[in-house]
Structures are given as C-alpha cells and as structure tokens.
C-alpha cells in the first residue's frame, strides 16, 4: 500500500468519500423530481416500489461496508481505513431512515393505521423496524463526546450491536422477496464472510485467556 499522508486522508479523501456515498441519494432525489411531475424518470412506472428497494439496498450495502472496514484495515496492516468507519456507519443509518421515509411518506402517504398494522403483522417489516431502532442509538452515540461520556469499554459494547443489526437487515430483505431469491443470500454470504475473522479472533483470545 502506498503511504497516504494523514492530511490528504482527512481533507482530501474524506470529503470525497462523503460526496461519493451521497451520490445514490442525489440520484434518487433527482429521479423523484421528475417522478413527482409524472415525467419519465429512472425509477420507472412504480417509483414508490423502486425507491423503497433502492434505499433499502443502499442501507444494507453501507451496513456491510462498515463491517468490512476493520478486516480491511487488518489486511493492509494500517489503521487508516478506520477513519472512514463512522462516516460509513452514519450513511447506513441515513439510507435506513431514507428507506423508512420512502415507505411512510411516498408509498403509504402517512396512513398511520396501515403502517402500524404493517409493523405488527408483517414479520419482515417487524424485523426491519427492529434493525432500524437498534441502529439509531449507534448513530446518536457516534460522536467523540459520547465516546468520552460512555467510556470506551461501554461504547464498544453498545456498538457491537452492529453484528446483530446487519443480519436482521439481511433477514428482512430475504423475507421480503418472494420464493428463494439469490440477491439476499449474496448479502447474507458477505455478512458471514465478514464475521468469520472476528469469530476466529474471539476463539483465539478465549483459548489464550483460559490456560489448558
């Protein structure tokens, strides 16, 4: 890996990453601008369905990407990728909130009775909602101030919730699709692949901790 100076990372690559991760949302907003007017748009003839799926896809992708940061950092033996982890995680939350907004506003148009019934009766929506509710505190406590206030141990513990949130999101996606479909399974496989080194490391530490 070529050495990247710290200030290039902070003031060059970070803003660039910020804009790059915003691009899907900008495309969505641009498409809706036309969809609202009934003009041809990238979202197609059922823009509500398309935007529900689009935002959900990206929330899931950023969830998995944030889980990929630490293994990647270990792989290249550099802590620098960690600089991007919070931003990626916050983008996961951002797209998850966009996902729910798309469903509540654009799709069901604030029909709260229907929405509440959906959350209770449709298991895949219950699971998805649980994932979002777990993700919100992670977003809120993502600041330096919160790390200080909570203490790094407790903060880390809380943020391990991401290991449960990602599979909930994958399950939500799998259940939402009809029949057995490949796409959610691919996301599930990526999640498992990202968890393997973590579980391995855990087992090693435990073996060391308990002398045989």
């Amino acid at each position: 890996m070529p050495k990247v100076p710290m200030n290039v990372l902070r003031f060059g690559l970070k803003p660039l990453a910020f804009v790059a991760m915003l691009l899907p949302f900008l495309w969505l907003a641009y498409s809706w601008y036309f969809a609202f007017q009934g003009l041809p748009n990238g979202l197609g003839v059922n823009p509500q369905e398309a935007s529900n799926r689009f935002t959900g896809d990206w929330a899931l992708r950023f969830l998995l990407l944030t889980l990929a940061v630490t293994p990647f950092s270990k792989l290249i033996k550099s802590p620098k990728p960690i600089l991007f982890r919070r931003m990626i995680g916050l983008y996961a939350l951002f797209y998850a909130v966009a996902h729910v907004t798309s469903y509540v506003w654009l799709d069901l148009y604030f029909a709260w009775g229907d929405i509440w019934a959906d959350i209770l009766k449709r298991t895949y929506i219950t699971v998805g909602m649980a994932a979002l509710l777990l993700l919100i505190p992670l977003g809120v406590t993502s600041t330096k101030g919160w790390i200080r206030r909570m203490g790094s141990r407790r903060w880390r513990k809380l943020h391990m919730a991401i290991y449960a949130i990602a599979p909930l999101a994958v399950i939500h996606f799998f259940m939402m699709r009809k029949g057995i479909q490949i796409e959610p399974l691919v996301y599930g496989a990526i999640y498992l692949a990202l968890m393997v080194p973590r579980v391995k490391a855990r087992l090693v530490t435990r073996r060391r901790a308990s002398p045989a």
């Binding site: 748009n41 197609g44 229907d114 057995i180 479909q181 996301y187």
Partner: protein
Amino acid sequence: MFRRSSPWQEKESEVTPQSVYLNRRQIMTGAGALFGLTALGGIAASARETRTLAPLKAMKSDFDPGEELTPESAVTSYNNYYEFGTNKDDPAAEAWRLKVKPWTVKVDGMTDKPGNYALEDIVDYNALEERIYRLRCVEAWSMVIPWLGVPLAPLIRKLAPQSGAKFVRFETLADKSQMPGIRWPVIDWPYVEGLRMDEALNPLAFLAVGLYGKELPNQNGAPVRLVVPWKYGFKSIKSIVRISFTDDMPRTAWMKSAPSEYGFYSNVNPEVDHPRWSQARERRIGEFGRRETLMFNGYGEWVADLYRGMDLQKNY
C-alpha cells in the same frame, strides 16, 4: 411537491402520461456499482433478436371497465415473470430468448381428447375478442389492460373433460435454455396454476394471445396465457404448455413455495391480508397514491356466486 388530496381524485389531465416508462437499467447500474450485485449476471451474451409482434384482428366486447388504460409501455416493461429473473425489468430484457413458434400445448389427465395440440388448434385466431380487464397483483399494484384472446369455457368443453374432472391444472414452460431465471431455485419449477372447473367455465375466464391490438410480447406470457381478472395476477399463468384435467386440487407453485401465504383460490379480497402485504389498497400504475381494492377486483357480479357459502377467510 404533491397535494394532500387523494390522488385518485385527480383530474385525468394530471394522471401520469403515457410517456412514463421504466428505466431501471439505470438503477441497477448505480446499485451494482458497489458490490456488483446485479441479480442475474453471467448469462452468456448472445445476439438479441426481437420478434415483430403481428397485429391481431379482434371484435370489441362488453368487457370494459371504462377506466383509463395503463400505458402499453408500462404493461410491457413492468412484469413479474420469474422464469426470466426476479426484477421487474428482467422479463422485458430477457424474454426475447423464448421461442414461441411453433407452440404445442399438451392436454392430458381426465379427458376424452388427450394429445399434443398446436396452439392454432386450440385458439381460433379468426374469432378473437378484445377484453379490457383490471389486473390486480398480489404485491398491491394494478393495471388496466386490453387483452386479445378467446374465452376459456368453450375451449374447456372442446377438450372434453370427463365427468369426474373437478379441476384444471395449467403449467408454464420450464426450459433452462430459453429461461435464464430457471437456474435459480426461486420456486419449484415448472410454474403451476389451477382453477376449479366452475371457475374455468366462468365467462370471465379468458385465454389471451395478445394485448394492445398485437400478439403478446414474450414478457407478458406469449404465446398464450390465462387471464382471470377476479384473482391475483399470479393465477393468470403465462406461456402455457400443458393443460390437465384432474379430480385432485392442483398444488400450485406458490402454494408449494409458501403454503401459509398462498391458497388455491387467491381471489382478490381487500379483507384478507397476505402476510407480506395488506390487500386493502392498491397502487394503480401511473397514479401516485393508493386506491381502495375492490372485492373480487370489482368482478363480484360475475363470480361471487362461485364462492357462496364458502369462508373466504379460510379459502384464501
């Protein structure tokens, strides 16, 4: 931004114009960028030949709800036809691989006239009718489509089911070489649907070979498909290769896939929710908000008698 009033109250001039079309390629290009997850990659690229759809002559019929037709571009670009992929735009992109001529339909089971019939022997192309039907998908969207075809009942009679036959079972083609989606075990292929004999003999039941004045595009179920407008769209089985008469209720593809979610009847019913979707409302393609779903998709006067005395909460 849009107004708060119910979109179904909008004036016709405000309804999405015909020019609305699907361009989900763009979405997929963007979406696939990060992880390269376009659902069905890897199919060997071969030259795409598009079939010219011949115009069909048909007489007008009384079956016309008088509602605005869903634009042809939407009808032919937004499809559920999992044999060609599970995304809505997959069928339009992949179905050109389907070879529809010649087409043979196998007729078997409890019939006095079993055999392999050429499509032209089953459907009289000189006696086509146009019927404008609402189509209500179980995913809570709907369209209004001008189909061309023949009523199912006379055909059933012609195929001479025996007196013990109580059900008609239909099967879709399942050919890996023409249908890329079949490589995935989305459901237990081939796709199977069925009707009770009296449902099949109902005057609404229709066998379509065309839409919008032309032959059926492949993605809409060419060359011949069922249209049963009082039931959810998945009952209207596409590209039929086999019709069987039986005394046993057929296990349909979706019943096999998720028995708790899909029943045999699958009549449009706003009061019985599907576990994944509330069925109370639907989005008419081209409209912004949702409209109320009608019992039997608005065809109660034709079909309600078929289910008299049945508990539709149980027989969903």
